[in-house]
């Protein structure tokens, strides 16, 4: 409990100084967040949603609130994490916006701290509206520290051709926590593609606690990609919450390579009829890494379609957890929902937990789910060898295929190529 008090203390100090100039609605939002976090405390493994994941290293660790970095990185330092040098991008270091490395677009692709002052009504309307905090201590804590992060607004019928890059770097030098808070508003019939990346310049332990809310208007489409390649000693806790209007399309891709301990809560609410959702995820872990993906797809309206694919590749002593909750609300007729989670265990010490949770309250629906946990298919291994491919290469090829299945669904070629390269590097090691 000591650590909860420490975090609340650091919130009080921060609210009194650094954040004292905020408008009152924002102060209220933060106060609500800290009160909730104080009530809830850190989750424990007796709670259903945390059965397989202990956050003790975070709860018992000591993380100071990140301070503005002393030095701004050079473009050369961040180039390894950029897919394109053109297009719009927002770069953050330890949670702080880096204007000299960013290419914002007026008040539409901007730092959240900036637009809170300039587009108050829009921000106020959406911020904190979608990501739940009632039973989500980390989300509540992030809300307490709401200040900085990425803001993307695409006006009705507009299309942003090139993917927008949101890059969250940790300096990785000190044991600090940052709480990036991102808000993405895609207005009706607008279209955008976004790549949100978490990475580190240093190797040290730190904690990222991010929340991203994505609102997608009627007939709009967003291709949202999230790449978590934090330092292998990092703690990464994140929430991604989407909210879809009528006839909208969300393709949400998420890839987790990094962090010692990672927990990603993904929530998708299909609030209007005719929506389409693809939730496509990969986790590739080794060593002692632990990654927990907790997904909730909420079919709140009729005639929506959701396809969820998660593949895990687990080597050495790593552990992957996947929970796929699908809720079909009363009246969400003609829901078409498909979920698969396949886990490949590359070592006898690796472990995977996979649990689908279907809650169906409508009768005219199609819901399927399937999950697998196991080693490489020996039949496929023999098939490849019988064609002349050596055993080691055949194993690599099949493992790569497990990842490629997920990467292949991504539309951004440069991202696919970069992730493909990372996967190949990891498999060659």
């Amino acid at each position: 409990m000591a650590h909860v008090e420490q975090l609340v203390g650091s919130y009080r100090a921060w609210a009194a100084n650094g954040a004292s100039g905020a408008p009152s609605w924002l102060k209220d939002l933060r106060e609500g967040g800290i009160a909730r976090f104080h009530d809830l405390g850190f989750p424990n493994m007796k709670q259903e949603a945390w059965r397989f994941t202990s956050v003790a290293p975070i709860a018992e660790g000591s993380f100071e609130l990140a301070q503005p970095p002393a030095r701004t990185p050079k473009l050369d330092d961040i180039r390894p994490f950029l897919l394109f040098e053109t297009g719009y991008r927002l770069v953050f270091l330890d949670g702080f916006f880096q204007p000299s490395l960013s290419t914002p677009f007026f008040d539409d692709i901007q730092s959240l701290a900036h637009v809170v002052a300039h587009r108050q009504d829009l921000v106020r309307q959406h911020l904190g509206t979608y990501a739940a905090t009632q039973d989500r201590p980390f989300s509540a804590l992030n809300t307490a520290f709401v200040h900085e992060g990425a803001f993307v607004h695409v006006p009705a019928k507009a299309t942003i051709a090139e993917p927008i890059q949101l890059l969250f770097l940790a300096s990785g030098a000190k044991q600090v926590v940052s709480h990036p808070r991102n808000l993405v508003v895609i207005e009706r019939e607008a279209r955008a593609s976004i790549v949100e990346t978490y990475a580190s310049l240093g190797q040290g332990p730190y904690w990222t606690n991010s929340v991203t809310e994505v609102v997608v208007g009627e007939g709009a489409r967003v291709d949202y990609h999230r790449v978590q390649r934090e330092s292998e000693r990092a703690y990464h806790v994140a929430t991604t919450q989407t909210h879809q209007g009528r006839d909208s399309t969300v393709h949400l891709h998420t890839v987790a390579f990094g962090a010692a301990l990672a927990r990603h809560d993904i929530g998708a609410v299909m609030a209007g009829p005719g929506g389409t959702l693809i939730l496509n995820g990969l986790y590739l872990l080794a060593g002692q890494q632990h990654a927990d993906h907790h997904t909730t797809i909420d079919h709140a309206a009729d005639h929506c379609e959701s396809h969820e694919y998660f593949n895990g590749v687990l080597d050495e002593k790593s552990r992957g957890v996947f929970t796929g909750r699908i809720i079909v609300r009363p009246g969400a007729q003609k829901t078409d929902s498909k979920q698969t989670n396949n886990n490949l265990l590359l070592s006898t010490d690796a472990h995977a937990d996979s649990q689908p949770q279907l809650e169906i309250y409508a009768d005219d629906v199609k819901c399927t789910h399937g999950s697998t946990v196991g080693p490489l298919d020996p039949r496929a291994l023999f098939y490849l060898r019988s064609r002349g491919v050596g055993e080691a290469e055949a194993r690599r090829l099949m493992t790569y295929g497990f990842a490629a299945e997920i990467l292949g669904r991504m539309d951004v070629a440069a991202l696919r190529a970069e992730l493909d390269r990372i996967v190949r590097d990891r498999l060659a090691a």
Partner: protein, 263 residues
């Protein structure tokens, strides 16, 4: 061998002697003798469960099958001690009765990896995707495919017939010296059967031999074998010319099975 007297002195590509094989603790092959010379097409027929696939798989090196006794020489060398990939690189190819899916790997990537593994063995330069496409194009035509099947994961969602055609495509691209076809005809409609047979006939040549495993004679209406063997209860109980296939079609297998039991 009937009608092929000139080859009698030919070089034996595969020579199997007294082969006994067990799987899951059961002896399935109980002493198989078989010699295939260069350029010959042999057919193995027999009732379900007689051990045809076991023979095919053991020749390809499947690790689930235990060799209890006997030998198999390929190009004069001991085949049974070679790894599956070494056999493939030496020119042995098995068209599977049940082709396997490989998730996430496209058919074209798979086939290029396989071809390059063989080329490395032969000291030839590897093919990049562009060069490979050229090789592929001609081979695809032979089985009546365009390249749309090539960008799909290997055998995933393929119909039974598509899987079998895919095996023949691999055969055409990898150009083995000994091609073993395990029930490639089963599950094919007549058009697909003709396409497959045509592709195989085009690949026939003085340096390439075939071992065609089939339950029915209908494939042999389109591919005329030099020798037909009957496998029953783990032994070759009869060998003969193409006419033996017709005899089997007319009489069934029971008379042979009974013969095998008695012996």
């Amino acid at each position: 061998m009937p009608g092929h007297g000139t080859r009698d002195t030919g070089h034996a590509l595969l020579e199997v002697k007294g082969l006994r094989v067990a799987v899951a603790g059961n002896e399935i092959l109980k002493g198989v003798d078989l010699a295939i010379r260069e350029g010959e097409v042999h057919a193995i027929m027999g009732p379900n469960g007689s051990g045809k696939s076991t023979l095919a798989q053991v020749l390809a090196g499947h690790p689930a099958y235990t060799v209890l006794a006997g030998s198999a020489k390929y190009e004069g060398k001991g085949l049974l001690s070679m790894k599956p990939e070494e056999r493939a690189r030496a020119g042995v190819f098995l068209a599977f009765q049940y082709p396997v899916e490989i998730r996430g790997i496209t058919n074209s990537y798979f086939l290029r990896s396989a071809l390059n593994a063989l080329r490395r063995e032969r000291g030839e330069p590897e093919l990049d995707p562009i060069d490979f496409l050229q090789v592929l194009e001609q081979k695809l035509k032979a089985i009546g495919w365009d390249d749309s099947m090539m960008n799909r994961p290997v055998n995933e969602g393929f119909s039974g017939g598509e899987k079998k055609r895919n095996e023949i495509l691999q055969l055409a691209v990898l150009e083995p010296r000994l091609a073993i076809l395990d029930e490639t005809d089963s599950g094919l409609d007549i058009d697909a059967l003709k396409t497959v047979a045509h592709a195989v006939n085009q690949l026939r040549g003085p340096k390439r031999s075939f071992l065609i495993v089939t339950h029915y004679q209908r494939l042999l209406n389109h591919i005329t074998p030099d020798v037909v063997h009957v496998l029953a209860d783990g032994r070759i109980v009869k060998s003969g010319g193409p006419e033996l296939a017709h005899e089997l079609e007319a009489k069934g297998y029971d008379w042979l099975r009974d013969a095998a039991m008695v012996s």
